[in-house]
């Protein structure tokens, strides 16, 4: 047992010390921070140039009805359109040409390209004015209508056994989707690291020295656990660094931070549940797949030979990943979705996608139990192939060969 700890320690420390690990750990939060900074910047950046809009109103319905805002001033020069265009003083000024029949196209011209928010402002005002006028014409009291009108914001609630819970569907979806993608990617990234580690030891020939000191199983488990801890460390660092950076950049009032805040707030009590599921499926999924990756690594002499074995291992996961958005999210309770989330090969991704839809507890229970049984099973198989494979050189391994190795005696 003590020796497994030593192996875990070595696998962990050599990887964490690597430049690639440090760079990865720093760049991801940096990108995250950059993203937040851009969002904050965009959200903060308002159009602060002052515009003068020369309204040429051929219909007469809009005369003096536009409301001036801080940056937009409406004037009514009573000129012809072409004169007004000629007389434009600044590049930021515009001419609004309203035809006699408002059903015709309204034309907004300026020397510079009009910003969207400006066009929005004008269009909104014109619609309001036109509706107001229409209502008045139809005998509706617009003032009382205004009083009745209220801002409706939908708050979705779920009926659960513990009563109604306020949830924000978007936030839970986003989190579980992000979790599923993260699991999918890291199973490959860290699984491949386990595989490369095994191949490295084999091609370095240090393997024979090590297995004369420890059992192959100890070496394999030490490597898997060590790499797994590297993965967890990376996640923890990413999350805490990202949170830290966005907090520092954003301060308390920035829109980005309030967005993050409301995101976390909206997750509410679900956050713990989701986090637990994420960690559970990440860990068991990692143990499940990296055992297989370790077996593949032991069977080959170089990374280029791994293809024939990698494909069938990665296929179920890839299949689930492709289905995730288009299928699992849309019909989370269909038989296929249920099966995918129960079979250990696809469960880590599939069940994460179903989590926001609160799958029945018994399904979650079966899925989790099978994950545990599954990784013990793959570890058992992998260990039997591994112990033979690591000492085999120059033999092109086929599936038949692997099966033979499996049945070798100690």
């Amino acid at each position: 047992m003590n020796k497994i700890l030593l192996i875990i320690q070595r696998e962990y420390i050599t990887r964490v010390r690597k430049r690639a690990f440090i760079i990865m750990t720093l760049t991801v939060p940096a990108l995250f921070a950059l993203m937040f900074a851009v969002i904050a910047l965009v959200a903060n950046q308002k159009d602060e140039t002052k515009h003068v809009v020369y309204v040429i109103d051929n219909s007469g319905a809009f005369e003096r009805r536009f409301r001036n805002s801080q940056f937009i001033k409406y004037v009514y020069p009573h000129k012809s359109v072409s004169d007004a265009k000629k007389d434009l003083k600044s590049d930021d000024d515009l001419v609004l040409n309203i035809p006699a029949n408002t059903k015709d196209t309204v034309e907004l011209s300026s020397k510079k390209k009009t910003t969207l928010s400006l066009a929005d402002n004008i269009q909104g005002q014109m619609n309001d004015i036109a509706t107001g006028a229409g209502m008045v014409k139809a005998g509706i009291d617009t003032a009382s209508l205004h009083k009745i009108k209220s801002n409706v914001i939908i708050k979705s609630t779920e009926i659960t056994s513990t009563g109604e819970q306020g949830t924000n569907i978007g936030a839970t979806y986003a989190l579980s989707f992000a979790g599923a993608i993260l699991i999918y990617m890291s199973l490959f990234i860290y699984g491949a690291q386990v595989m490369r580690g095994v191949i490295e030891e084999k091609t370095n020939r240090i393997i024979e020295v090590i297995v004369s000191s420890v059992k192959p199983f100890q070496l394999m488990m030490g490597k898997i656990i060590g790499v797994g801890l590297v993965g967890l460390t990376q996640f923890v660092l990413w999350i805490s660094l990202s949170a830290g950076i966005s907090y520092i950049i954003g301060g308390n009032t920035s829109p980005a931070n309030t967005a993050l805040h409301s995101f976390l707030h909206n997750l509410g009590s679900n956050a713990g549940y989701e986090l637990f599921c994420f960690l559970f499926y990440w860990i068991t999924g990692f143990l499940f797949y990296s055992a297989l990756f370790a077996a593949v690594g032991s069977a080959v002499d170089s990374e280029t030979e791994t293809q024939q074995f990698m494909f069938p291992i990665t296929l179920p996961l890839l299949f689930t990943y492709i289905l995730s958005v288009s299928y699992l999210f849309t019909v989370p309770d269909s038989p296929l979705s249920v099966w995918l989330s129960i079979i250990p090969l696809s469960a880590p991704v599939a069940m994460m996608m179903r989590i926001p839809y609160n799958p029945p507890l018994w399904q979650l229970g079966i899925s989790m139990a099978l994950m545990i049984v599954g990784f013990i099973f793959t570890t058992y198989i992998a260990a039997r192939i591994y112990r033979v494979g690591i000492l085999m050189y120059g033999k092109k391994a086929s599936y038949k060969e692997l099966a033979k190795w499996f049945f070798y005696k100690e």
């Binding site: 192996i7 070595r10 030891e201 024979e208 020295v209 004369s212 000191s213 000492l391 100690e410």
Partner: protein, 302 residues
Amino acid sequence: MLSIRNIVKQYAGHTALNDVSLEVKSGQIFGLLGPNGAGKTSLIRIITQITGPDSGEIFFNGEKLNQSHIERMGYLPEERGLYKKMEIGEQMIYLARLKGLSRDEATKRLKVWFAKLGMETWWKMKIEELSKGMQQKAQFVATVLHEPDLIILDEPFSGFDPVNAEIIKNEILDLNKKGATILFSTHQMESVEELCDAIVLINKSKKILEGPLKDIKGAYRNDVYLVEYEGKQLSLNGAAPFEVIEEIAGEDNLHTIKVKLKGGSTSNDILQYLIPKTRVNMLKEVIPSMNEIFIEKVSKIA
């Protein structure tokens, strides 16, 4: 010390070891010989518990071989290898700790070894920065750092220049003097003659020869002598107690011949026959070298 009894190991399609038994006595330097593919590595892997035998038993100091013996063995495989990206000091300590040494003890001993072999400046270097010979030296240290009772060396001198090979040879002898038993597999027969107390020869998965080196060589004495004499070349007739097998060198005055005794006669008979006729410079028994014994034994079976 090590008693190997009726070991059988089969891989799919072929038998690597067929009923092999041998005894290694405590304090011996024991040579494990055999042509390529004879089953030496398979046997070593069974002793080091990397694999297990299909049948047969091994006893280590009278106890049935088990996990606890791993820490009392040191194994230098034929195919050397270390972690390329790891610093050498750290790596040596890691390997020693896998053999049950504490970090402090490993560090202490390693410093002694490094000083002894002139490796002090290597501590912080990565393996990939070292030459092949330097890596070999480091790996030798890693093999013996935990002061094992049984040291298993597979081709320990390959990859060393003559100077370093001599250094390593002396270290091996030194370790042996301090009480370590050494099991030593090689194709270099000169080093076998120089170092080994006893040998076993394995061919085609079977043991074909075993015993103390002296006895084996004694058994292979075939009454062949080398004679050098001065003077005119002798013409020999049937009365001589020997037959000339080979005329090796014949200068004007100096002649060397290889002779084989006829049944019942001794080396003294050679002298008695020759002395009246010529002046004998040298008479020496030709004992077959391990190399010759090896080739003879192996090719007889093949």
